[in-house]
């Protein structure tokens, strides 16, 4: 089985699971008392944030490994992870407002997770724009790796900034129900969704990586 086919199979599996998540979330998970049906978007929103974070961390890791080993496969992986991460960030950033509007009457809130993901989104876009502007593969890989490492170093500062800002201006915590205090069924759906999104990440990145292998002079 080629890598592309394997990737496609994993993605398909992930999509099937995703359908399962939807079914479970809509029909087999209790409705949250305070927020009603709109709360169910949480089962997509939170795992999307998790996938974005995962994608970004792996871009950072792959960047370090590329500079150490000079193996272009790490660079290709980083590029694939960045593209997939951007997609997940978009999912998270669109489900956020969709959730916030019915609950809070406002499309956007500067809550910790939305803000952090917005930053990751900007970093991803910058990374992809840089890649797009360098035609030569070796230079592109090297510069992307440097930017990737810098971005990874920035993330703790983003979290710290958001944390310090929030202690100044306490945000409503409705958008961040913490996992342990969730009742069993909701927790189960959430965990299943985390698992599904991870599968989707693996599937998408595998396919993108396999595509990248085909045209190594375009990348």
């Amino acid at each position: 089985m080629t890598l592309k086919t394997r990737g496609r199979a994993i993605t398909l599996l992930g999509l099937v699971f995703l359908a399962g998540v939807y079914v479970r979330a809509i029909w087999f998970t209790p409705v949250e008392r305070l927020q009603g049906g709109a709360q169910k978007i949480f089962y997509v929103h939170v795992p999307a944030a998790w996938s974005t974070m995962l994608a970004f961390s792996l871009v950072g890791l792959a960047s370090i490994l590329y500079l150490l080993m000079k193996d272009e496969r790490y660079d290709r992986f980083a590029a694939a992870s960045a593209e997939v991460g951007t997609v997940f960030a978009c999912v998270m950033l669109t489900t956020g407002p969709l959730w916030a509007k019915p609950i809070w009457g406002t499309w956007w809130t500067w809550d910790a997770r939305l803000t952090s993901t917005l930053f990751l989104f900007f970093l991803f876009i910058g990374y992809l724009l840089l890649r797009g502007a360098i035609p030569e593969a070796g230079t592109r890989a090297r510069y992307s790796a440097v930017l990737g490492i810098f971005g990874a170093a920035l993330v703790p500062f983003i979290h710290l900034t958001v944390y310090l800002f929030r202690t100044l201006h306490p945000q409503p915590i409705v958008l961040k129900p913490s996992a342990p205090s969730l009742p069993g069924d909701m927790l189960a759906t959430l965990l299943f969704s985390f698992f599904t999104f991870t599968i989707l990440y693996v599937g998408f990145v595998t396919q993108r990586y396999a595509l990248g292998r085909g045209d190594s002079h375009v990348g």
Binding site: P135, G138, S216
Partner: protein, 226 residues
């Protein structure tokens, strides 16, 4: 002394240098000819340490501090005077101040730029700028000279002045190993003790010049590249 050993280099997917190997002892001047895109500049950059080759090794005896580089750009700062430029570059190459000032004086005299020492480089003519570039390249008394098409954009007079200077500084008595990349077969041959031809990254010819004339070398070159 400088050498290349099995140097291969690719830019993206394109091979720029293909198994280049040679040695050039001190006192020799190598004229390197080749069509556009044959890898001449890449080879010089590999020797200078600007590019790390995909495979193989190349280098000069004495490392970076022993290299004098002259390209078609002057590598000088237009807003600074000739003297300031020479002081700056000399300082970077660790030439001590008393030696530096003496060398500035003697070099600018040899390249006929004494009058221009305190003029900004941006106000000099192209010929004068290239002569200043030579002074810059020699400020640290390098044992290797790498010249990448230094005659570009020079008129006849300036070009022959430059040729005379290169002959003087790269001459056998000075003990330097010199590579001159040029399109101009006449000028190249006049200065060379050895001649080489690069074609699509391969060194297809490397021979001592002996007594051959520019005409003979030119003919051999045309033979090789067609």
């Amino acid at each position: 002394m400088l050498w290349a050993d099995g140097v291969r280099h690719r830019f993206g997917g394109v091979p720029a240098l293909d198994d280049v190997s040679f040695t050039l002892p001190a006192g020799h001047t190598l004229a390197l000819f080749g069509p556009n895109g044959s890898g001449k500049t890449t080879l010089l950059k590999v020797l200078a340490g600007l590019i790390k080759p995909s495979l193989g090794h190349a280098g000069v005896q004495g490392g970076r501090g022993a290299i004098g580089w002259i390209g078609h750009q002057s590598l000088l700062y237009g807003q600074l005077t000739v003297r300031e430029n020479l002081r700056f570059w000399g300082s970077l190459y660790r030439v001590r101040t008393p030696v530096l000032d003496a060398r500035i004086a003697s070099l600018t005299a040899r390249v006929d730029l004494r009058e221009q020492l305190d003029r900004r480089v941006g106000t000099l003519s192209r010929g004068q700028t290239q002569r200043a570039a030579i002074a810059r390249a020699l400020i640290h008394d390098p044992s290797v000279l790498l010249l990448d098409e230094p005659f570009t954009g020079l008129d006849r007079v300036a070009a022959s002045q430059l040729t005379a200077l290169v002959k003087e500084f790269a001459g056998a008595g000075e003990g330097r190993a010199t590579i001159l990349v040029t399109h101009n077969v006449e000028e190249g041959t006049e200065l060379a003790t050895d001649v080489a031809v690069l074609k699509t990254g391969r060194l297809v010819e490397f021979m001592p010049r002996n007594a051959r004339t520019a005409g003979q070398i030119g003919a051999r070159y045309r033979e090789l590249v067609s």
